[in-house]
Every structure is written in C-alpha cells, then in structure tokens.
C-alpha cells in the first residue's frame, strides 16, 4: 500500500508570532494532495526597523490583492485557482500597486491607511515605509524592476505621472520618491504594469487592449500591438520566459500574451478570480507552474489538441481536491510529465457503448461532486478539437455515476481518434486553457461504422504475447525470449462483411543477436482487398510513409519491421534488449495498424484471431550454418502447424531439427512435436535470458504433456516463478 504523506505547514507569525504546523497523513484512495504550500522560512530581519520576514524563494504563484478591507490571495496563473493567503484578522485597509521584489523577496504595495508604501512579509506582517514628496493621492499602478532595485508607481493626470523610488539602501536616493515624467506626457489608461524578467521595460495593457512597452528611465512608451481583448486589466504578471499574463477585473479571465512575438496578441488562458478592485504581482523569474510541487492536472492527447502548457493545454487545478473524475486525480508540472506515482488517474469515463458514426452513444461519467462536463470528439481525425466537435455541452453532473447520451456526427471518420472530457464548476469550457478546479481526461477511442460488431483479442485494452525461439530449424534453449511481442487484435464487421482490422503491439524483448523482421499475415485476405488509401501504420505513434503491405505477393501480409534491431537497442553493458537481469529499459517500439477493407470482404473467408504472426530473417544477415547464405525473407518462423507464406523457401522445411510435414499440415515443429513459437492471450512475463521456460513456469510441461487438459492457466503471474522471469 502506498501511503502519501502530506505536509501542510501554515505559518502565522503575524503580531503574536504564533507558529503552528499541521501534518496530515492520507491513504492512496483519498484525494492525493501532494503539494507543500506556504513553507515559509524566515531569512532574517533587515533595515529601517522593519520586522516582516522575506519569502524563502521566488514563488511560482502570483499574488493578488483585493477589496476595501484588504485580502491577499495566491493565484495559480496556469489554472486561475486562488486561495486566500491573508488571515481573516489581517485587518489591513485597501492596498494597491502590488509588487514583488526579487531583490529582497518581499511584497510591496501602496497602502491607503498609511498613505505610503508598505512592505509585506511572508508572515504577512505589514511595515509602512514613509517617503517624502508623496503626491496627495494614492497609486494603483506599480511594480518593482527586475534589473534595478527600484519601485515604479504610476497615476495618470498632469499633477501625477510616473514616479521612482529606490529601495536600495546603498543608493544615494534611497527611499526618495522622484517624478520621472508627468501623467500628461505619459498618459496611459492602465491599471497595473509588470516588469519584464530581463529587458528592463515595463509592460501594460490599456482599457482598449493596447499593449504598451514603457521605458521607465526615459518616461516614454511604445504601443506594440492591440492584443484583441479590452477591459480593465487590474492585475498583470510576467513569467520567466517573457509571457505577460493579464487578468480582467469584470470576469476574472486570464489571458496570455507572448511579448516575444512581433505583434503580440492575447490568448485566453484561464478562468481566474474577478474583482472590481484588483492588483497583482509575482516573481517574474519563476515559471508559472511549480516544478517541485505542481497542483495542475493535464490531459494526455497529442499536443496538436492543446495539451501541454506551451500550447495552452487543458488543465485544472486540483489543490481544492473536491471535484474530479473517477476516484483519483494526479498533479503534474506539465502534460506528459511522469510524476512517478505509476497511478493512472484516467478513471472517470466509461464508454458503455461503442462510438459509431451517426448514432447515439452513451457514456458513464463518474464525478466526485456536482459540476459541469464538456466533452469533445475529434470526429474528422484532424488532430484538433474543433467547435463543431463538441459532443457534450455544459452538462450538469452529480456525485457518482452519470449516464449521458450524445450524438456522434454522421460525418465522423472511422478509426482511432481522441476524446477530451472536462469537469469543472465552471459551466462552459473550451477544449484548451486552465480552470481552477475539476479534471481533464483524454481517451483514445475508436469510431466505428454503424451497426458494427467488434471482436477483440484478448480484449480491447489487454495484451496477448508472442514468444519466439529464433534458432529454427535448430532447437534452441527454450527461454522463449528471442523475440517477445505484446499485441492485441480487433476486427470490425457489419453482418458478414469485414470492414476493418486493427493490430496494435509493442516489442517487449529481443534475446537474440539474429536479426529478425516481424509481420502479420491475414490468412484468407488478399492484398487487393485492402483499402490502401485509408491504411494507417504507425510506429511509436508516428505515421509511416512507407506502406506495410508486402509487395509482389497475392496475400495480405503486413511487415511491421524488416529488422527489429533497427528500432531497439540493448542496455548499457547488455547483449540483448530486456532479457538479461539488470538490463531493463522502457519499451522502445510500439506499432499500430489500421487496415480498412475494400467493399464486400466476407469475414468468413478471413482466418480467426490470432491471424498469422511470424518472424523472418532480415536481409543480408547470416543465419545458422544450416543455410549456405543469408536466407533473408525466404526464412520464416510461424506458430505451430501454421503454413508459411508464399515467399518462404519450401525446401527449408525439414532441415536441422525441423520435422515439418506439409502433407499432414505439420509446420515448424521438431521431432518432439514442439514448436518454435507460442502464443499466449495474456500480458506474459518472459523468462530471463538462458532460463528454460520450465523454471519460470513450472506448470508449462504439465499443460503440454496433457495436451491442454491440465494447468490451462500455467502462464499467469500467479503460476510463475518470479525470480526466473525478466523484471525491468
């Protein structure tokens, strides 16, 4: 049982210097909240008799200050999730022009109670800093430069303008407020500004959506673009890569503007908090999602759908821990980032019916609490979720199971595609962007033809295993790992007409130095019956330009690889791929084949599962001494009593230990009746290198000698000797 330990540390040194720590333990099945929030360490006291404590690091969160009686919030810009940072008894009046100083790691603001700027510590202590020459009105625009330790404040109007105050106690003008330019000369309808992480300029977006780049030394501004969004942007922030985030007061929407572009425009980024009185600040040197303690859930679909943070992918903050799909949700710093837990949190959507073009389909959505679901199906398989591909819109769901019907478009294309389901308390969502709660789950699914019957071997998402001994026609060592392939098969038929076949797999192990190719023949199917125009062949998720259909033969033979060693490598100091102890690696080759048929292929003419998987010798590579020259494609090894293909050289049969007898339908067996390949409808763990299968699977012999009467489940995990099977 995994146990997650969650530390929540709250520090409240405000006034009374109280300090308490809460430690919470939780089990796997509860909502995992592995964040460490608010760990705040005192760095020490500094000058001018101030006592607040600095932040220990450059925080990934943004800060937002709101309301007449001030409340300070932390905001996850990636999702808009915010939570109150200041205590209920903070008892501070309105503040504005919030700034984070990277020079001393304090927050600064203009405080209307003191009528001057204040420094705010990580402990939320507020210390006023009294300045001379203050104008008679407060500031609601301001930030602290990254390249110099100076606070810039702005107020439009001829009597005001842009001011600078040095916060560098070693400077001659320390804490002296100076007017850089008057507010008529620099006349901007802006409500916050933010300093770029490295170029020294401040940026702001005015109420009409104009993006301004402000030279604070010269007091000049340059209009870079109109970002396409108007409104009062009361809180603006930078991240370390130069993205400017602007938060609109009236609806809380957060937009992202890449200032590195020639003509920067705003893209909707997240649903954040709204307020009439808003000011924000953050440490411009931090990425917007903490790499160490992320609180964000991402999807899994390819990035063309908008999945990673760079592509403004769909993402949800899970810090609140109340609303999610299924039983669990996991946080990650970005899409495709493995958080190492090994837990699959894609557990909230059950496709209780298949998805067929032009039909009504049902899906069972498990929600942890009340919320709204929006979902998309890439019906045209173009790699994007388009507006007309939304299948579920603003659907209210309750805690538990929710069966929802939706219509699959008549124009949906058959085959594998992606769906995206988003749950949130926000009613309407787009397929991309961040939101402060809920979860996103992406699923690869199959769009089928109407009235299709699909058959799956061994089932729709489990693996079968092929294990070859490749020394044929000589008897090998029966470690059954010279080639190990996981695979699954699906066939789709409408009544007696075979529409489609799908073959998916992964190369699990190669315990051989011989070079083998791997292929599937679909016995009974002719090459000419395959719709080559719609044929899809992917290796490691990438569509291959070369057709897998073997040329110059009548039968439909699909070559997965001419030489599997072209796709996998042995580990460091290892001879083979995933067969020797200590030679683990991740799976290096996956493949998928979608094989649509031309019209009128009768399914009864085509062989049953598992069709005819086989290996062949790679061209130009020597085989054993039984062959005078490299036999190449003429050499094949099939499952027991499976006839070879038309390319096989018939007189190879009977050589070495092979006792095939074509007249009796006996192929690829030796004098003892043993084959060179076995097929197991199970995600089988193969024996380690040189380990006779009988020591890894003690019941195998009994199964064989009883002709399948006894120990029919000899191949299962439970019946294995785990010390003798390969472990990654």
């Amino acid at each position: 049982m995994n146990i997650y330990i969650i530390w929540r540390v709250f520090c409240s040194l405000h006034n009374s210097h109280r300090f308490y720590v809460e430690v919470e333990f939780t089990m796997l099945n509860s909502v995992r909240r592995n964040t460490v929030k608010g760990i705040i360490l005192a760095i020490g006291m500094t000058n001018v008799g101030l006592h607040a404590e600095s932040f220990s690091e450059c925080p990934a969160e943004a800060f937002l200050i709101q309301d007449k009686i001030a409340n300070l919030y932390t905001v996850q810009l990636a999702t808009g999730f915010y939570e109150k940072f200041s205590p209920n008894d903070w008892d501070q009046e309105k503040m504005n022009a919030l700034a984070f100083s990277i020079h001393d790691r304090y927050l600064y603001a203009f405080n209307y109670y003191y009528g001057t700027i204040v420094r705010i510590g990580a402990d939320l202590q507020v210390d006023p800093i009294f300045l001379t020459n203050l104008p008679d009105k407060g500031f609601y625009v301001g930030d602290i430069s990254v390249v110099e330790n100076a606070y810039y404040l702005y107020r439009p109007g001829g009597n005001y303008g842009l001011y600078r105050v040095s916060l560098d106690e070693n400077s001659n003008d320390y804490l002296q407020l100076g007017n850089v330019v008057d507010g008529t000369t620099l006349n901007l309808a802006i409500y916050d500004l933010a300093f770029h992480p490295d170029n020294g300029f401040a940026y702001a977006v005015d109420r009409w959506g104009n993006l301004w780049k402000i030279n604070v030394q010269a007091g000049t501004s340059e209009n870079l673009s109109n970002v396409g969004e108007a409104g009062v942007f009361g809180a603006v922030y930078f991240d370390v890569t130069g993205n400017l985030y602007i938060s609109r007061n009236n609806d809380g929407n957060i937009f992202r503007i890449n200032t590195n572009w020639d003509y920067p425009v705003a893209e909707f980024f997240a649903y954040g908090p709204s307020s009439s009185n808003n000011d924000g600040a953050r440490c411009a040197l931090a990425p917007i999602i903490s790499q160490e303690n992320p609180t964000t859930d991402f999807g899994d679909a390819p990035d063309s759908y908008g999945t990673s943070i760079n592509n403004n992918g769909a993402r949800h903050d899970i810090e609140e821990g109340i609303l999610f799909l299924g039983e669990i949700v996991e946080s990650e710093p970005n899409a495709y980032a493995d958080n190492g837990s090994g837990v699959d949190d894609n557990d909230g959507i059950d496709f209780v019916t298949g998805v067929a073009a032009g039909t009504t389909a049902l899906v069972d959505i498990t929600s942890s609490a009340e919320g709204f679901v929006n979902a998309w199906l890439d019906s045209d398989k173009d790699g994007e979720f388009d507006a007309d591909e939304q299948i579920i819109t603003d659907e209210a769901v309750t805690a538990g199971s929710n069966v929802v019907a939706y219509d699959v478009p008549t124009w949906a294309e058959t085959g594998t595609t992606w769906t995206r389901f988003r749950l949130s308390s926000e009613e309407s969502l787009s397929p991309i962007g961040g939101v402060a709660d809920g979860e996103v789950e992406d699923y690869a699914i199959d769009i089928a033809e109407q009235n299709v019957t699909s058959l799956h071997y061994p089932s729709s998402e489990t693996w079968a295993t092929l294990a070859f001994e490749d020394h044929w026609p000589l008897v090998g060592d029966y470690d059954m790992n010279d080639l190990v392939v996981h695979y699954r098969l699906s066939s789709y038929a409408v009544e007696d007409t075979l529409m489609r076949v799908k073959i998916e797999g992964e190369i699990v192990a190669i315990g051989a130095s011989y070079h083998n190719g791997f292929a599937f023949r679909l016995p009974g199917l002719l090459r000419s019956e395959v719709d080559t125009g719609r044929l899809s062949f992917k290796i490691n998720g990438v569509e291959q330009s070369a057709t897998p259909l073997e040329a110059d033969v009548d039968e439909a033979i699909f070559i997965i690889a001419d030489d599997l060693w072209d796709f996998v490598t042995a580990g460091e100091n290892c001879k083979f791929y995933r067969t020797e102890a200590g030679c683990g690696s991740s799976i290096q080759m996956t493949f998928s084949l979608e094989i649509p048929m031309e019209a009128n292929v009768n399914k009864t003419n085509v062989a049953d599962f598992p069709y005819d998987p086989f290996i062949f010798a790679s061209q130009g590579h020597e085989r054993s001494y039984v062959f005078g020259e490299a036999p190449g494609r003429r050499f094949e090894i099939h499952l027991k009593n499976q006839a070879p293909t038309e390319t096989f050289q018939a007189n190879f049969l009977g050589r070495g230990d092979d006792t095939s007898d074509a007249t009796n339908g006996e192929y690829f067996i030796n004098a003892n009746g043993m084959p060179w390949a076995i097929n197991i409808p199970y995600e089988w763990e193969h024996p380690v290198e040189y380990m006779d299968i009988m020591y890894a699977y003690p019941h195998f012999h009994s199964f064989v000698t009883s002709s399948g009467e006894l120990n029919v489940d000899w191949f299962t995990f439970e019946k294995s000797t785990q010390d003798n099977v390969f472990k990654q």
Binding site: V352, S513, N641, N672, G673, P681
Partner: protein, 173 residues
C-alpha cells in the same frame, strides 16, 4: 549420409544449448563454418528416414528440460477456449451489448471495465457469435445498455465450468 548429417546437426545444437547459445542469442556461441550448402534435393527427400516414429506421449512424464518435452503433433498449444455467446432480444429493442472480463460488484452495483471487452455490438435483434476466451478467464459479464432506457442497464454473469467437455455457452434470454 543423411542420418550422419542430421546427427551432426543435432549434436551441434546440443552443444550450442550447452553453451547457452540457443536462441541465436549468443554471438559467443561457436559458429561453425557453413558445412552444409543448399541441399540438392530436399523436397524429394521427405524426412521419412529420420522420423522413426512419433515419440511416445506420456501425460505423466517428468522431463528435466523443455528440450526433452514430447507433445502431440496435433496439439497447437492454444491457451484459449471457444465460447458461444447469444442474446435473445425479445422486443427487438435498440441496445448495445458488451462481453467483458473485468468488473466489480460494489455497493453501487456492478461496474464494468469496458476496456476489457471481447465483444461489443449494437443490436436491434438477437445476437449470436463465438468468442475466443483466454484460459485464465473464468468469469465473464454481459452488459446490455438499452438506448430507450439508459438508467437500467442489464448485467448477466457467466461462470466457466472448466470440467465440462461440451462447447461452452453463454446464453442470455
């Protein structure tokens, strides 16, 4: 001559096994020079000479190595059984039928893992077909969802009788 060649090959293969070099796996295994060129008349010389007789099958035999294992030439080592599945759709309702291996029975009723299905089909009438089921799967579920009543799916569970020699049937009426 033929026999001696075969014997030689057999001995060499034993040698290779003894060296741990089986499976073509071992580049360190001795690779004798190609002593046999293309046989001149291999197809004519059917291996009737060397197949002395099919080795005796003994279900109770204990073998020290898989290389000694003797198996019926007709036994394909298949690890599955056939299952005849049928559903009689009395009112010809528009429905969707799945037959799957993984499901849980909890407080909130049955929950099926639809990623573990062997059959999925929409029907407006009866269904019958044959499935190839892995030997380790002895409990299956049929889930029937009616499109005119999505609140009330029907579940039927089938348990394998591994002792039976008859064709296994999963029939739902």
């Amino acid at each position: 001559m033929k026999l001696s060649n075969i014997t030689l090959i057999f001995m060499m293969s034993l040698l290779m096994v003894a060296c741990g070099g089986g499976g073509g796996g071992s580049t360190s295994a001795p690779t004798p020079a190609a002593v046999i060129e293309e046989p001149t008349e291999p197809e004519v010389e059917e291996p009737t000479v060397i197949v002395v007789a099919e080795p005796e099958l003994d279900p109770n035999a204990i073998y020290d190595a898989t290389a000694e294992l003797i198996v019926s030439k007709s036994f394909l080592l298949e690890q599955e059984y056939e299952l005849a599945v049928s559903y009689q759709n009395v009112d010809n309702r528009s429905a969707y039928v799945s037959v799957c291996t993984e499901f849980t029975e909890g407080q909130n009723g049955i929950k099926v893992n639809y990623n573990s299905c062997m059959l999925r089909t929409s029907i407006n009438g009866d269904y019958s077909g044959t499935l190839t089921v892995a030997n380790d799967q002895n409990r299956l579920i049929m889930a029937i969802w009616y499109l005119d009543d999505t609140k009330n799916p029907r579940y039927e569970i089938w348990d394998n009788d591994s002792d039976t020699n008859d064709v296994r049937k999963f029939e739902v009426n």
